[in-house]
Symmetry: C2
Subunit: 461 residues, 2 copies
């Protein structure tokens, strides 16, 4: 609500195409609000506005993860201006931007940077996606352990404006440059200026990440130990830091991907309205086709019971009901286990504990549904809503027993699938609800018709 | 891996029941690691260990959100010790703990606190669950705007140990006590000690939360503006702050709830292995029964087509395939829209934009599946895997056309349901995959049999 001013400005942009006055109206806004306004403008206008902002504000805007089309905006700027602005943008943001750009444009953009930064960014670009290395920034505050508290404070005052965070300060061994301790700014300011910087360090082991650590695990470290940043350490040396705001973005993105995968589609991280038709078809169509092809097995399974179907057409009435119950119980178990594995409450080796719990769970839930089913059929028969024939009680029994078996099977399949996926190196969240349902559907039909052939033998079948 | 030491210690606790030496072995560990060890001990031992820790470390441990059975542990302590320790625990953590305790025990615990804190906690307990008020802490750093930079720094040094964060400092009007500006510690240390504290404030509007704001919206503010804390303001006065680590916990919890709701069950926030059998039955059984009862409509729908089924038993073969395709396309659309609404990419008023996009999406995806289905039936017929009878081509056509209708209907239902739920005040994430599938299943059957009765009239039907 409060940033209406900026958005109105953007809306009026077409009429009042005066970038200078637009920039002037934005100068006191927060960078994320300016970003929202720029995202709504045609790229040429957005660039013109950026160029009219004071350079430090323009840099702040370019540093925002929310700024869209950043490579395009940079390309539209005069090269010298672009180079000057990019020099101020943080390394992790630059790496993020360059990661979206294909060659040869990526190299062209890299040429705008000074040689030191260029090497730096090239190194960041080499870390695989979603690792600590790929989201870390290389601009952090570090001092040798020979510094005093006062010297460290002076240093922090000096570098404050060029560091993503100065709340965590890394104390290095003066010779080997290896990380000795992490100190916090809040403790630093309480220290005696003459004392050694290590005097304000707190006891306890160092919390560090490795460059190839999954960003989810880095997020877990930061959240567990309530850190503002975690140092990424390679052979004892700090090569970068991951800050808490990078981690929040990562957590939100991961949970979006989890929900979408669970919904049975490839993950899309762009806003819904910005995904093109063909990309949408690719992300949804692939999975939908794969599920459709697997689900065709149900048709094959049904063909196998054609004889039974012809003799007892009444059995077909309950096929959707029975199949969906298996899918639902599987989907519940999967959603529980996906989260338990993601939050590291459980490990792969705990699979049998889970299986031992899901057997009574599945039996109890199945019995519950089975009883409801039997009551429903008996009630309809008794009240005359439908006539299931003279063997209606046996049919009700078939449905009830089949439900116990199917819900048990669904709960077990749904709970074990995330373990199996994790074991073979996939994200457990790929155990989508539709995938589990498909697995359970075919087996559900087999269970149903097997139970039917036992209970109804000699009567209907 | 690194906290193996502590966990081993916990594992050995039964044998070496010497709380003093256990406490001594933990003294240099990080509080979250001590918490993990205590969680694995019987409560009596955990309390004994806590009492052997230096009071400031014990307070730090009690302050950790991960500590389980905290009310029980406190009750097991001598009252005077408990009172001394609780006095050091932060207000938001205390409120969290007390929220888990039922009366009259809650009042007994509250009596351990000094009168000031007690009033404070009682006020926090009044805020509804999941609001900014319920997760905020009342211990923050604030100074009047008449202070100089130097005075503010002195004040921060003085209160540092008793505040959850001192990285954000709230500058208040000396008379009205209303919030004037937020300043950051990093900017404060770079300021001239003689200058007014407001000289280091940055321009731009204040970012604040209201006490009844949803914690998800607070999380969004913190993440958008990269804040370490956001002040909760009531009538212009700061009544507390929400820090970034509270928000991370909130985001993780919300996304767990979203996945579980989407999986078709009531949200469970406890670790999987700690949920009791009956609680599990309640959380899963309720939804499962509700879905089962709705899904019974499929049996009623099928009854209506009994005549068709008897004449063309071949139609039953494709019922599972067709129903699952509707469910899958609905589940995809729902997962996309749940996230888009949760991330505030879309608002309720955008529903028709989404509907306009889902019509071509659903038609295209349905056509794709329809073609695959026609090819499958023709291929089986041609290769002699199964004989669908002389009208096989018409049957294939029926399946193909029905798929287009059902996938279109699934995509539309799945995408509109989250809007409807949000509109009537529910969490859009309650539009679980099984719920969507159930809605689509009944309609899917009607579409299938309607298409069949049109295409197969005069031949099979």
């Amino acid at each position: 609500m409060t940033d209406l001013g900026v958005q109105d400005a953007a809306a009026k942009a077409d009429h009042m195409v005066n970038p200078a006055s637009l920039a002037a109206s934005m100068i006191d806004e927060r960078a994320p609000d300016i970003v929202e306004a720029l995202n709504d403008m045609p790229p040429e206008l957005a660039v013109a506005v950026l160029l009219h902002l004071p350079p430090d504000r323009a840099i702040e805007v370019l540093d925002q993860p929310g700024l869209e089309r950043e490579p395009e905006l940079i390309t539209l700027m005069p090269r010298t201006v672009a180079a000057k602005l990019l020099a101020g943008v943080s390394a992790d943001r630059l790496a993020d931007v360059f990661r979206q750009v294909k060659e040869p444009h990526c190299s062209e953009l890299l040429d705008l940077l000074d040689p030191g930064t260029r090497v730096n960014i090239r190194r960041l670009l080499e870390y695989p996606k979603d690792t600590a290395g790929s989201i870390m920034t290389t601009e952090f505050a570090s001092v040798p352990s020979t510094y005093t508290v006062g010297q460290t404070l002076d240093y922090i005052r000096h570098v404050e404006s060029s560091r993503e965070t100065v709340y965590a300060i890394y104390v290095l061994d003066p010779l080997s440059k290896k990380l000795v301790k992490t100190i916090t700014l809040r403790r630093l300011i309480t220290g005696d200026p003459e004392a050694q910087v290590l005097s304000v360090a707190r006891p306890g082991r160092l919390i560090t990440a490795t460059p190839l650590m999954d960003r989810e695990d880095v997020a877990r470290l930061i959240s567990k130990y309530d850190l503002l940043a975690v140092p990424v350490v390679d052979h004892g040396r700090v090569i970068g830091i991951v800050t808490v705001d990078d981690v929040i973005d990562a957590i939100v993105q991961e949970s979006t991907e989890d929900v979408q995968k669970f919904g049975g589609m490839a993950a899309i991280n762009e806003p819904y309205m910005e995904v093109g038709f063909w990309q949408m078809m690719k992300k949804r169509g692939g999975w939908l086709c794969a599920l459709f092809l697997s689900e065709m097995l149900t048709a094959s399974a049904m063909q196998g019971y054609e004889g039974e179907l012809e003799k007892a057409i009444v059995l077909t009435l309950f096929i959707p009901l029975i199949m969906s119950s298996g899918g639902n119980s599987g989907s519940q178990a999967t959603s529980l286990l996906i989260r338990a594995l993601a939050l590291r409450e459980l490990e792969i080796k705990d699979w049998w504990h889970v299986a031992l719990r899901e057997v009574p769970n599945g039996l109890a839930l199945g019995t519950m549904l089975g009883l409801v089913g039997i009551v429903r059929i008996s009630l309809w028969q008794y009240l005359g809503f439908y006539d299931y024939g003279e063997h209606w009680l046996l049919i009700a029994l078939t449905v009830g027993v089949a439900l116990i078996g199917i819900v048990l099977f669904g709960s077990l399949t749904g709970s074990m699938l995330p373990f199996i996926l994790q074991r073979i190196g996939f994200d457990p969240a790929s155990a989508s609800a539709p995938f589990v349902a498909t697995l359970v559907d075919v087996t559900g039909l087999v269970i149903y018709f097997t139970v039917a052939s036992i209970i109804l033998r000699g009567t209907l079948l």
